[in-house]
Subunit: 441 residues, 2 copies
Amino acid sequence: MKEIPIGLVGYGTIGQGVAAVLAMNGEEISRKLNAKVYLKHVVEKDIDRPFDVPLAQGVLSNDLDRLLNDPTVEIGIELIGGTTIAKQIVEKMLKAGKHVVTANKALLAHHGKELFQLARKHNRCIAFEASCGGGIPLIESIRRGLIANDVQAMYGIVNGTCNYILTAMIREGKDYAVALKEAQIAGFAEANPSLDVNGTDSAHKLTILSSLAFGQDIPFECIHIEGIDTISIEDVRYGNELGYVLKLLAIGIKEQGGVSVRVHPAFISKHDPLSLVSGPFNAVSVYGNAVGHTMFYGRGAGRMPTASAVVSDVIDIILGNAGRTFNELAVLPDVAPKADIKPMEEISSRYYLRLMVIDRPGVLAKLTEIFGRFNMSISAITQREGSVYDARGEAIVPVVVLTHRAREGNVQSAIREIAGLEVCTQEPICIRVVDEHPEWQ
Amino acid sequence: MKEIPIGLVGYGTIGQGVAAVLAMNGEEISRKLNAKVYLKHVVEKDIDRPFDVPLAQGVLSNDLDRLLNDPTVEIGIELIGGTTIAKQIVEKMLKAGKHVVTANKALLAHHGKELFQLARKHNRCIAFEASCGGGIPLIESIRRGLIANDVQAMYGIVNGTCNYILTAMIREGKDYAVALKEAQIAGFAEANPSLDVNGTDSAHKLTILSSLAFGQDIPFECIHIEGIDTISIEDVRYGNELGYVLKLLAIGIKEQGGVSVRVHPAFISKHDPLSLVSGPFNAVSVYGNAVGHTMFYGRGAGRMPTASAVVSDVIDIILGNAGRTFNELAVLPDVAPKADIKPMEEISSRYYLRLMVIDRPGVLAKLTEIFGRFNMSISAITQREGSVYDARGEAIVPVVVLTHRAREGNVQSAIREIAGLEVCTQEPICIRVVDEHPEWQ
């Protein structure tokens, strides 16, 4: 049986997962592929720390050149993360004639175009199924499976940390800070979770996924980003009472005026299949003009799920399929046309607003006058009885408003005006309500 | 730009969908593929009937030989359905040196092995993404995306007709017969729906999907099949009260003692992501030993979704990927090892039982004695007050039982014994309760 040696850089969580998958399923993979895939060089900065997954003698080293200079190794896996050293390593591997497999969404979101070009120059490919949605075969489903479609929209829950935190808030009524702490203890949030909870990680993935789905070059810088780090449990509860679940969504919509690409918290209906995506799971709904609504679900992170995707890429390269897809389909951002991006203030959405106001005659009239002036039509409004009082003993009450579709720019203007009212006691809360996308429109 | 002529046999619903997709998205496909795909020959028995989707002059004929003898046509699409003439046509196309794309699950379930062998003999491939799950990129996700996994189990809602009917029963409380009638009027059930509602169509798809997922040869004849045509609205309601939703599931589980492959109605929890798959939608949950739980969701039938999959196969063949996957991966049933099939009576499951019994002292004691003797442990039991009376004026009451896991053979024996009791007034109802599969076991 043919033996195929592989190189790997970065022997952390995912790197060890790759070794574990090859150890656990190597026999089955060999049977299907009629070839034995094995790790010949594993390069790691700190080779003296303990590892969970042992390697054969002589495989582990801190010498990248061993990998680069070995002509028998045609595939290199980059799993160190980050965008500086990782970029240099990928460049070196491509220049040394290796195909590259990477799980590094930040690298591809920021430098994908440049790296794809470099790969083409050296007649090599970059495979990156593991960069989005962990083990879900998402990239290839969008790029190949739905290729006959003009993709209209995609809505993704693509950050497991945020989804884990939001699920704990929704199901257990926990505050954000408590839920984050527990996610860290459970291993679903890192010590420094800011890239996850502020939406940046989701935006990295949206850059990659929306470029592929729409076959356009969509730079990371064009994405509007809001995180979950400012979400209050009150709004999770009020939304729940109204029949909605709060998720952090990565959204790409092709519409009149350009492509809208954005990451923000959103209330979605309890009947939307995305609403059942809980805990560390991820899912992406993709709407094609032929296929209608499709959804891809699974674990978006973690050692073994991510390694599953990495190894599938390695096999795809060995079969020659990854190379053909990379070279012959004009869908990657370095060969696709530049997208027209729709400005955020031009999008239209429904909105959930929570306004904390002093319970005084005429306040509702004032609020509704402002809504009317900014063309915001109210679909539901509730004012609760107050239980909090200001310094003068006046009750402060939450007014919860659901709007019909309105223009984002108008809503932001209305909110600014409301925030300036004397009766408004805190910054208004505004969360977009995202309905299921219409199929075939 | 290179032009790639395609042949198509069968200009019915899906055939016209293929023409519609190429008309609607041809430009975008050409841009991505750098080649223009077009229908050169469309062969249809009855060319005089009206068609929704017009073809260019000279494309439509009833002459298969025009397609077979045209050396410029390297890809033939079979969309006539059925297993006799369709088989001959696929054989002729392969022998004439054409790659074949088909959406025909019945053909592949019954004759896949033979046809795959014939394709290999002629160095051609058969692509069949559209045969299961309509437009969902399911086949390729399982065969390529999850290739690094040892797949442990799959649970699929793969028949849109049944799911449409069951959704109407669950949501609107309709009787089976009424729901079926409405599905026919809405175009989601055929005039003769028997292959759908009796589970055969789901079993065809399970044959294909389980063979690929497990990399084993699983003959259609090994699949245990039960349909939804005997389901009563009462049981849908009782199940609902207990927190369960009724679905027709196609199940494949690799376990001790062999592979269990079966199609039957099943109660699943309202928290299972499959429970939100409603109306004509399909979804398949696949559990890999590395990736954990994944799910693929979308429209499982219909003109445009199915055509989306057919055209993606055509493009995959043009790229050369389909051929490599077909030839180089030992996963199709003609080159994979024969599966050990676990006998149905050996499986273990939880069960929902509804027993209509005369409300007489000692009846519950008798029932529970029988359960105990057959090692069936009760997890919940409810007896309702009676509102129906027998000839002697004795009340007939439903006793609804949920069991813990029990052996199928034991449950069937217990049911036979209960059916023979004098107090049992009708054949006991038995529906399996299927819990979410444990990940990584």
